[in-house]
């Protein structure tokens, strides 16, 4: 359905620039096209920026845009559709919009669009509906200015909002019902971004650069690929095959063994030339169900944490493609917030002996001599660690965890239910242990601790605090953290230090390793990919959802044709 209904490419485009470009609109010239994969696993479904979880790649970031981007290296917001923004008082935020930005239908972009977008959140089913718990009102002071008035200023979360909400055109959307806003496929997107959708099919979405994009002049940026084809590969092996065939320029999949290829002569690059090859994107945790015995005992959880040989997982399962996490689990980008004193005093390391001692001290003994400790009441402990079936690396990791826990005397068996079954168990709290990593790098460790400590614990926990760990004080601290201004690093550090202490004392979840920002690039058509060395860009290396705002878009502007 997609292809035919998208606007035709501008006439100027047909002539192309390089002689090699074909005049056939049905066949994209290789040297002007970027082929990527690793973001979506099924057909592109819609161009609806509200559906951030299943809209076609680029809906947010390439087609629709946000007010700011976030520079992960400098740790600050970068104005995008907004020219600037500032807190005029504790609970009022004033946003200045950029001049001269136009929607793709030619209408000017104004404050009304921003107001409309945020007011959409008043609808119950809109993912950012929660914002309105602490946002009082949004007003367009004038065409270029928007004023947000808060009942409670959650500075950290607000920054997150600023670079995460796609702004939609009021003049197109204003009559849409809640159903349409949430479920609509938004077939002819009118947006501000640098690209427009050209077509989509079961396994791909094709974007075409808009040569009249406002950022060309205003930001002095131009993404280099005239076309972007994002391919939904069903599996890593296929991506690997295509990468080797040079049919792909970029794979954002986890490709096991890619280290061999990077070192070999295959024209593939990654961010680092040596382990861990990739930047870190998120933390994988071992989540114990703290409502169940004996995981309800912090001492037991600590012993469990000490029993896990993460280094072995990193080396054997991942072949050093990932890095062992710090005991805090905070991503390396958040190093400034790690309180080394707390870590050295209370942090944990892999030490089977210590794990055994912790168990013994806490009263877990192996009474029946089967090599495994029992509960204090003498009942057997037999824990099941679940990870989704088919997630090979996690399955191997789970096996490894089980092995090392057994060495410490804790009986853990790995089990691999189907993903949906696992989700159900996770939601209902019907599990012993699981592995999870559903918090990405963001502007603030707040999101990390929110995940760890959010209260209240409900009957069904959908996205956070799967451990069902209840600590009023910790949650209080998290909320305080939210209300620290984002430029107040010291203030943040103070609260985070306390949170870390609680984390170590209670071990509600056990950080294991950092998953990489999987990005393998082929240099056969495009070069100057992000890399650690020399003058290479340091911007975001993936096209995953939300990552265009974290530097992913900037990377596109720095690409160079391989021939140049």
């Amino acid at each position: 359905t997609g292809g035919g209904s998208t606007p035709n490419p501008p006439a100027s485009q047909a002539q192309g620039q390089s002689g090699a470009a074909s005049a056939d609109p049905n066949q994209l010239p290789r040297n002007e096209t970027l082929y990527t994969t690793g973001t979506q696993w099924g057909p592109p479904l819609n161009y609806n920026p509200i559906r951030e979880w299943d809209s076609a790649v680029g809906t947010k970031g390439l087609v629709y845009e946000t007010l700011f981007h976030y520079d992960t290296n400098a740790a600050k917001l970068v104005p995008w559709l907004a020219a600037s923004g500032s807190w005029t008082d504790d609970t009022t935020y004033e946003l200045k919009l950029r001049q001269g930005v136009k929607w793709s239908d030619g209408q000017p972009f104004t404050a009304k669009d921003v107001v409309y977008t945020f007011e959409l959140g008043k609808m119950e089913t809109i993912p950012y509906h929660n914002l309105w718990n602490w946002l009082e009102k949004v007003e367009a002071t004038d065409d270029q200015t928007v004023t947000f008035t808060f009942s409670k200023a959650n500075y950290q979360e607000w920054d997150y909002m600023l670079y995460n909400r796609s702004i939609v055109p009021e003049h197109v959307w204003k009559d849409r019902s809640e159903k349409e806003v949430l479920d609509g496929t938004n077939d002819n997107p009118v947006a501000t971004g640098a690209y427009s959708f050209m077509s989509k099919d079961q396994d791909r979405v094709v974007l075409q650069r808009r040569d009249d994009w406002w950022g060309k002049t205003a930001l002095n940026m131009e993404p280099k690929p005239r076309y972007i084809v994002d391919i939904a590969t069903p599996s890593n092996e296929v991506a690997m095959g295509m990468l080797l065939q040079k049919g792909l320029d970029r794979s954002n999949n986890f490709l096991p063994g890619v280290a061999n290829l990077v070192q070999g002569n295959f024209g593939l690059t990654t961010y680092y030339k040596e382990p861990p090859y990739m930047l870190s994107a998120n933390t994988a945790w071992l989540v114990p169900n703290t409502t169940k015995k004996p995981m309800d005992d912090p001492a037991f959880r600590k012993a469990l944490a000490s029993s896990i040989d993460v280094k072995k997982i990193v080396e054997s399962v991942y072949g050093n493609l990932v890095k062992a996490s710090s005991p805090t689990g905070l991503l390396p980008q958040w190093d400034t917030f790690v309180d080394q004193n707390v870590v050295s005093a209370s942090g944990f390391t892999f030490d089977t002996g210590k794990a055994k001692k912790l168990l013994a001290d806490a009263g877990y003994k192996d009474g029946d001599g089967d090599g495994f400790v029992e509960n204090k009441d003498g009942s057997k402990i037999s824990l099941t660690l679940i990870v989704p079936s088919g997630w090979t690396d996690w399955m191997e990791s789970a096996r490894s965890i089980a092995t090392s826990a057994k060495a410490a005397g804790i009986q853990v068996t790995a089990d691999f239910p189907d993903f949906n079954a696992l989700v159900e168990k996770r939601t209902e709290g019907d599990f012993d242990l699981l592995i999870n990593n559903e918090r990405q790098l963001s502007n603030s460790p707040y999101t990390y601790y929110e995940y760890m400590f959010q209260l209240p614990v409900r009957k069904q926990q959908n996205t956070v605090n799967f451990a069902r760990y209840e600590n009023e004080k910790a949650w209080d601290l998290v909320q305080q953290l939210d209300q620290v201004r984002t430029d107040d690093t010291a203030g943040m550090q103070k609260i985070i230090s306390q949170l870390q202490q609680i984390h170590f004392d209670d071990m509600p979840i056990i950080p294991l390793w950092y998953n990489g920002l999987w990005a393998q690039h082929s240099t056969s058509t495009w070069k100057n990919w992000p890399a650690a060395e020399g003058g290479a860009p340091k911007t975001g290396a993936v096209m995953w959802r939300n990552w265009f705002e974290l530097g992913g878009f900037e990377t596109l502007t720095q690409l160079q044709p391989a021939g140049s």
Binding site: N26, Q27, G42, P43, Q202, I231, P234, V423, E424
Partner: protein, 331 residues
């Protein structure tokens, strides 16, 4: 003849009904909640929003109704030609999803089934009772049929795709193309089709060749063959007759094979990232997409039944013996 057909139709209809009911039931008896999975994928942080979404989708898909009601709705909707909305590919209608995938799958299955059948039968017939060929064609045939589809597929992809670069390893057509009716596009389609086709074709080929070889040996030993050779008829004629008679059971085999081939195609499609029904089924399962599953199953059931029906008719036409009513006696 009329009676025969109406009876057949009745039986097929009943089979259809039961099969579809079973297919409807199976996903529903599985633990896990598709909406929960859907919501989980949305990865919405705020619990309230999650609850709202959950309620909204449960209502939308009718999961809040009693099971029997859902079942009735299902048949009702089906007769209206409405197969519901895919959960995984929300909000795409199931029919759209299937329509997009069916041409690829059919394009893969039909030629590979028919060609392997035709070629395999020829090979087998040719090899039978010829020592040299028998000792070459036969072992190759066994190796071919004994190969797991995916193993062959991956080897093909690697050898002819990655290493030699002769064929693409993924997709239904070039990622640089937009579907259109030009020769370049058609060639491109064929180019992408070749490897998946080949893997299905080769595996099936061996089976047919062997089946035919065994069958035709029986025929070559039969009374009518003996009679013809006693009258000095050349081997060519005898073989031709034997072939025709040996092919009849193979026709039944063809119908039996169809269902199995859907499964083979599934694996192949996954290996080659080919956008057919197979990949859909797997995804639908992984995402508990009841509606898409029902839709694809319905399609398969219909396909297999229709193929069987056609073959039933073809059989009556080509084999005079069935018309005389000895059908029960042969396989």
């Amino acid at each position: 003849m009329r009676r025969y057909f109406s009876r057949k139709l009745l039986i097929y209809g009943l089979t259809f009904f039961v099969a579809v009911t079973v297919n409807w039931l199976i996903p529903r008896f599985m633990p896990g909640d598709p909406v929960a999975g859907m919501v989980a994928r949305a990865n919405v942080a705020q619990p309230e929003a999650v609850e709202a979404m959950r309620a909204y989708y449960n209502d939308l898909f009718g999961f809040d109704q009693p099971l029997w009601q859902q079942y009735l709705n299902f048949w009702g909707a089906m007769f209206r030609g409405d197969f519901g909305i895919s959960i995984w590919l929300f909000p795409t209608p199931v029919s759209t999803v299937i329509n997009g995938a069916v041409p690829y799958t059919l394009g893969l299955i039909i030629p590979s089934v028919l060609l392997s059948w035709v070629v395999g039968n020829r090979f087998g017939a040719y090899a039978a009772r010829r020592k040299l060929l028998d000792n070459t064609v036969l072992p190759v045939g066994y190796v071919l049929t004994a190969m797991p589809y995916m193993w062959l597929a991956v080897l093909l992809a690697w050898a002819l795709g990655v290493i030699t670069g002769l064929f693409p390893v993924a997709g239904g057509y070039s990622f640089s193309m937009r579907p259109n009716w030009s020769w370049t596009f058609v060639l491109d389609l064929l180019h992408h089709w070749t490897l998946p086709f080949l893997s299905l074709f080769l595996v099936a080929l061996g089976g047919w060749a062997i089946g035919m070889r065994n069958m035709i040996i029986y025929e070559l030993e039969s009374d009518y063959s003996n009679y013809l050779s006693a009258l000095g008829a050349p081997a060519r004629l005898i073989r031709r007759y034997a072939f025709r008679n040996a092919v009849l059971p193979q026709i039944t085999g063809l119908a039996l094979q169809l269902g199995v081939l859907v499964a083979g195609a599934l694996v192949t499609e996954i290996v080659f990232a080919y956008p057919g029904l197979g990949s859909l089924i797997l995804k639908a399962i992984q995402n508990q997409d009841f509606f898409l599953l029902q839709g694809t199953f319905l399609f398969i059931v219909l396909g297999v039944l229709i193929a069987n029906f056609i073959i039933d008719i073809v059989y009556v036409v080509v084999d005079p013996r069935t018309r005389a009513g000895m059908a029960g006696a042969q396989a």
